[in-house]
């Protein structure tokens, strides 16, 4: 068969491929199999449709025809179709479709207030001024010249609670959290360059979207870990993640990590912008309202099984994600009897601070209706609270920073639904 394929017009010469492959590999000889793998792609390209599906619609025997050549840009398997769920103001990460801790960049949640601007990286400028010795304008190339830093952390919108119905998926419930490996220049490096003055206590971060998004950031709390990120998961930021440069504040509510960053003004008081006064604040039960509640407290969610799955009796691995803006996840407890007994789940290593952490728990479902729950504990000893406990201190009208224990009810027929009753305590 091989000889026949190779003899046609336009077909690649196997010996040529072997030569090229060998040339490109400095050490070790190329095996015939490597060359054949490469070649198989060439063959596929020249073949007609019907490669993937046979005549009867069934999957073709992939061992009898060559696949496609290497190409310039990879794509997902056509059988895999994970999607964000967009609304006019945000799109949510399909947590139930993911297996690891890194969110594929094109599935990272979005939240923006005036759409995604198209920023020219050549024209891009970041101005740093205010209480500094040397106000400076940086180009993208300037920022890339500084010593770089990389860190993996989650970003979560503080309005990340969608548990109002029984028919919600993990994505609906809390899909406004995602994780990336971010690379950029540490804010402390840039502050050293401009000579931020010792009396400075706050800075304003401003974006160049049509909302000209602004947040005031307490300097001392932020400067240890804050980064001006220009890369996400090894490549340039996605436009919806702030291309070409965003502020990144690990563990803090996503809104503070201002995207499309155009200006930083160093000052000695908060600027009291709209988002940090009228929006991302927390009315409390005693009639006061908490402001600058920036750190995201510990939370967890079981991503499988979850609505709209139906499970079968027998072995079920409970899987989920836990995270805390205050540091590392120390433990995740799981209950399979509606919260009466709790047992520790296994944490996937390494457990990074301020990062999505995978947990798993082996369970035998006996076929009786129940509720499965997860509860995160972080390195400060903070335990993810019940909704009833949150409402006792925050009252009825709290809207942001909700991180209650949530779970899924399982009916006798195996159907999984969001545990809504628990939210009404």
């Amino acid at each position: 068969m091989l000889d026949g394929l190779l003899s046609g017009p336009g077909m690649l010469d196997l010996r040529y491929i072997e030569r090229m492959t060998t040339k490109n590999r400095p050490t070790g000889g190329v095996t015939r199999r490597t060359a054949l793998t490469t070649l198989s792609a060439a063959v596929a390209v020249t073949l007609t449709p019907g490669l993937v599906s046979g005549q009867d619609g069934a999957l073709a025997d992939t061992t009898k025809r060559w696949g496609r050549l290497p190409n310039a840009l990879g794509t997902r398997s056509p059988a895999e179709n994970p999607r964000r769920t967009p609304s006019p103001t945000s799109s949510r990460t399909p947590l139930q479709d993911l297996h690891g801790t890194i969110t594929p960049s094109d599935l990272h949640y979005e939240r923006h207030h005036a759409g995604v601007p198209v920023v020219d990286p050549i024209a891009y400028r970041l101005m740093v001024h205010g209480m500094v010795d040397r106000p400076i304008t940086f180009t993208l190339q300037d920022l890339k010249r500084f010593p770089a830093a990389t860190r993996t952390c989650f970003l979560e919108c503080s309005g990340n609670f969608g548990g109002q119905r029984e028919d919600v998926t993990p994505q609906d419930l809390c899909g406004l959290t995602s994780q990336s490996e971010w690379t950029g220049v540490l804010l402390s490096t840039v502050f050293s360059e401009v000579g931020a003055q010792p009396r400075a206590t706050w800075f304003l971060a401003e974006g160049q979207d049509a909302a000209v998004m602004t947040r005031s950031i307490p300097l001392k709390d932020a400067v240890g870990e804050a980064m001006l990120a220009y890369a996400q998961n090894g490549e340039a930021l996605r436009p919806e993640q702030g291309y070409p440069v965003r502020l990144l504040l690990p563990g803090w509510e996503g809104n503070a990590s201002v995207k499309w960053l155009r200006r930083i003004e160093v000052g000695d008081q908060p600027f009291m912008t709209r988002e940090e006064t009228s929006k991302y604040t927390d009315p409390l039960v005693d009639g006061t309202a908490r402001e600058f509640s920036l750190v995201m407290d510990a939370r967890s969610v079981i991503t499988s099984p979850s609505y709209p799955e139906t499970i079968e009796k027998g072995f079920v691995e409970l899987r989920g994600v836990a995270w805390s803006g205050r540091g590392a996840i120390r433990r995740v407890d799981v209950s399979t009897d509606g919260g009466r007994a709790w047992k520790p789940a296994t944490l996937q290593q390494p457990v990074l601070p301020k990062a999505h952490t995978r947990f798993r728990y082996a369970w035998e479902w006996d076929g009786r209706p129940t509720e499965i729950l997860s509860r995160a504990v972080d390195e400060t000893g903070y335990t993810q609270p019940e909704m009833s406990a949150l409402q006792r201190v925050r009252g009825r009208r709290t809207r942001y920073h909700l991180n209650p224990v949530t779970g899924w009810t399982i009916a006798a027929d195996g159907r999984v639904r969001f545990g809504l009753q628990r939210m009404r305590a």
């Binding site: 400076i136 600027f271 600058f292 407290d297």
Partner: protein, 194 residues
């Protein structure tokens, strides 16, 4: 080379390496920003009025601008529509949450959070309207138009009178009913739920 010299040399090498890793002084990267460049971008307004431009306006002037540029999304009287509710003076001199509110509300439906009952600083309205509104043409309002719209919003929320002039001098002096309610974040991790 004796032992001491080896140690000294090693320490010197390590400190050189450390210096290369984390520079202590400026690296002379970037271009100095001129006062003109800074002024062109520096549009933020603080609670003490820093950043407010010259100009002024009244609620009466603001009403016409509001009807033309804002009402389509926020409703004819700021009651909300496709965009946020802006106006709502109830509960009078209080806030839409907390024990006082629950007693006032009784069996009535909840009132929305508005500029009048929740925003702690009047300057925020100027800052936000100027930078981000109207949604169809952000950044297009003049300083006078912005002052007039802010005056309209404050008057509709029963915080100032219709004839009051809102300007660089008067805006920072406006006291918002919810101002005293805002407290710093006291969460610090640990066992307590806050």
């Amino acid at each position: 080379m004796n032992r001491l010299m080896i140690v000294v040399a090693a320490v010197f090498t390590i400190s050189l390496a450390a210096a290369a890793q984390s520079p202590s002084g400026p690296l002379r990267i970037g271009t100095p920003a001129t006062p003109g460049q800074i002024a062109a971008l520096d549009i933020d307004v603080r609670p003490d009025g820093t950043g407010l431009p010259p100009g002024g306006g009244t609620a009466r002037e603001g009403a016409a601008i509001y009807a033309q540029k804002c009402a389509a999304c926020h409703g004819a009287n700021g009651e909300g529509g496709t965009a946020d509710v802006l106006v709502g003076a109830e509960p009078k001199n209080s806030a839409p949450f907390g024990p006082e509110y629950e007693r006032w509300r009784g069996a009535r439906p909840d009132v929305p959070f508005t500029i009048g009952n929740y925003w702690p600083y009047a300057t925020t309205a100027f800052d936000y309207v100027r930078r981000a509104m109207p949604a169809g043409a952000p950044g297009s309002l003049t300083a006078d138009e912005t002052y007039a719209l802010v005056a309209w919003l404050l008057a509709k929320n029963e915080i100032i009178a219709e004839s009051d002039v809102i300007s660089r001098e008067t805006l920072p002096r406006v006291r918002m009913p919810a101002r005293a309610r805002f407290v710093p974040d006291s969460r610090r991790g640990g066992a307590e739920v806050k």
